[in-house]
Symmetry: C3
Subunit: 270 residues, 3 copies
């Protein structure tokens, strides 16, 4: 049987304090020894399907050809479906729970061509309890698929257009202002908004940021963090083409009290 | 010399804030370039040999065929022995300090067939100070063993039954209740007890949990976290077949003030 | 084109909460599938070029033959140069920003033989914003160099002696005492000083540590952490040959209120 996928790109909320990530690697290494596993990220907030789906969206255009294994699965062992979703007629595949985690990245990858539910126990590990589907269901499925196993033997085909959607909020215009939402705060404290620079193309290079509770700050549009003076609030077009609130070498989220999901109102300064 | 082990499964308390894990990988990559290193877990609590031995016990049945490198070593450079322990007549091996870390996993792997103390300086890295045995003693030993070096050249043979035991506490029955101990709290806050469901087979699906200081909560036996109502305390049979105290998408350890090593008394509700 | 480097040893301040490290791995895996990436460390303090340069200095003599990719880059997208620096006539190479991060490790590796600025857009990824040079500039350069691409095609040659130096502080003698600086506090709380044991060769095995604000503690020179009694302050020659303030199984930095960059005055006890 010819090998089908050479790389598994693996994302989860398993963190690093426990051996969950290592055990998933171990299962894949045992079942598909030649496959390389690339860890995308595992320290996502526990159970945060939306944050995980956004991280996957940011990463997916860069992942190596092959299979994406994504496991943020608060509904493990309930009725939520475990799926493999093929994209590009099987050039790539996504394995994970059908809870909104996969759908946005699948769409960005050209949409699902086929999908199958992972129900065939012959391709799963027997376990004394059902709470670690990453180890018992998803990792074995990923390994077998890499080995060239036909996804159709893993379980029944399901509607490839029927994935639970992951909702990504859109910015909205309201009385001349742009109401945005904070999608992501990265390790450095940069706050990515759900709006690109085209939304404020004619607004000049100084904007007012409404941060809630009557807190308003003025931000300057700059190209690089290092273009900001100490303490100056910046708006940068980040590496994904989105507007991001930033300081130079300081944590904007901490300094400004910004949280993921919070709203930021962009306006021309008074 | 034929290669002997293709995979090193690596566990430590080195954490990720320093380059310790990376340097161990580097030493192995330099000495045994073809070997794949699988990181099991490194963010265990510093110096916590018991937590590490339990993580190894949970992981060991899933590790890829080969060698396990386990380093939690508060006694580094003292009289504690550095060992390689063969299991299954050399089909597998464990390398690490003899401080209780290895013994439970070795036992689970069928017991030691041979053991050798790592004393031969020719198979170690010279170092200006003795505090990083992972880099200087254990990683080179693991790499050389993978390369097919006979463990007998690494140092004198020692009694394979003489490993320092790692003690795993047993639950006990007392006046009709079951006194358990919290073995492990995972990233999600689920609290694994040292008792399986067979201990409470006839007790019904509602139990009382005595948490100390007269705190008592009622827990419901469920199959999945998602079967719990918001705020409801659950008992789940976890992925290792042990009872685990859990909430749905909330951190049971934080909510209930539970710590590793604490005692939980299971009883039929009044 | 023959492969040139088989291993990329990767250090950054990207942390593990985001997918930055995974995306860099993904880019390398896509462009140079056979290359192995060894993660040295990524949880360095954000933007802390000095801490990163010291970690690289500690690790560099152990890295596998090949290329070092080091990215701590607060000046991303400003005038700071992106470089590849060859050492040993191209036996090894360093890729990263020219901000003091690379220079000490390059010097330890025998000095730069050639250096080139990474300006050729054909060997970079196009991106909607310039803030993730690790993904768009450094990882592609590393991958192409591994593949055997001549560094001269990546951009103009620059003076190999012109790297921005990374300054490592020296201890100084002052009125019979030795004034040292804390270079590094590791995960265990051990505090590495910028002085080796040769600086205090005749001082006996008990020393006084001046910790600032009139706080003075007596420390005992020991070989191993485990040679210390509970609560006893120790000085150990660490795995890099430097003096390190330590406790047995306790966090010296926390117990003694020591911070990186702080000064510690060594003296003979009164």
């Amino acid at each position: 049987m010819p090998s089908r996928y050479a790389t598994v790109s693996f994302l989860s909320d398993y963190g690093h304090a426990d051996e969950f990530v290592g055990v998933v690697h171990s299962v894949i290494r045992t079942l598909a020894p030649e496959v390389r596993v690339v860890d995308l990220v595992h320290d996502l907030a526990p159970h945060d399907v939306r944050a995980a789906s956004l991280a996957l969206v940011r990463a997916v255009q860069y992942v190596a050809p092959g299979l994406v294994l994504a496991v943020v699965d608060p509904g493990v062992a309930t009725a939520r479906r475990a799926l493999v979703v093929e994209v590009g007629d099987g050039e790539g595949a996504f394995v994970g729970p059908d809870n909104g985690l996969l759908a946005p990245a699948v769409a960005l990858s050209g949409g699902a061509s086929r999908a199958f539910e992972l129900t065939n126990l012959e391709y799963q590990l027997a376990a004394p309890g059902p709470t670690f589907a990453g180890r018992d269901i998803f990792a074995p499925a990923a390994a077998h698929l890499c080995n060239g196993v036909d996804p159709a033997v893993l379980g029944p085909e399901v509607d490839p257009y029927g994935l639970l959607p992951g909702l990504i909020p859109l910015p909205r215009r309201e009385d001349g202002v742009l109401v945005t939402e904070v999608l992501w705060i990265d390790r450095y404290g940069n706050c990515q908004l759900n709006a690109g620079p085209e939304e404020i193309a004619d607004w000049g290079d100084r904007l007012s940021l409404g941060l809630g509770n009557d807190r308003v700050r003025t931000a300057t549009l700059v190209r690089a963090y290092g273009d900001l003076a100490p303490g100056q609030v910046g708006l940068v077009v980040d590496a994904y083409g989105m507007l991001s609130i930033a300081f130079d070498r300081r944590n904007a989220a901490d300094e400004l009290g910004i949280s993921v999901g919070g709203s930021v109102v962009l306006d021309v300064p008074a």
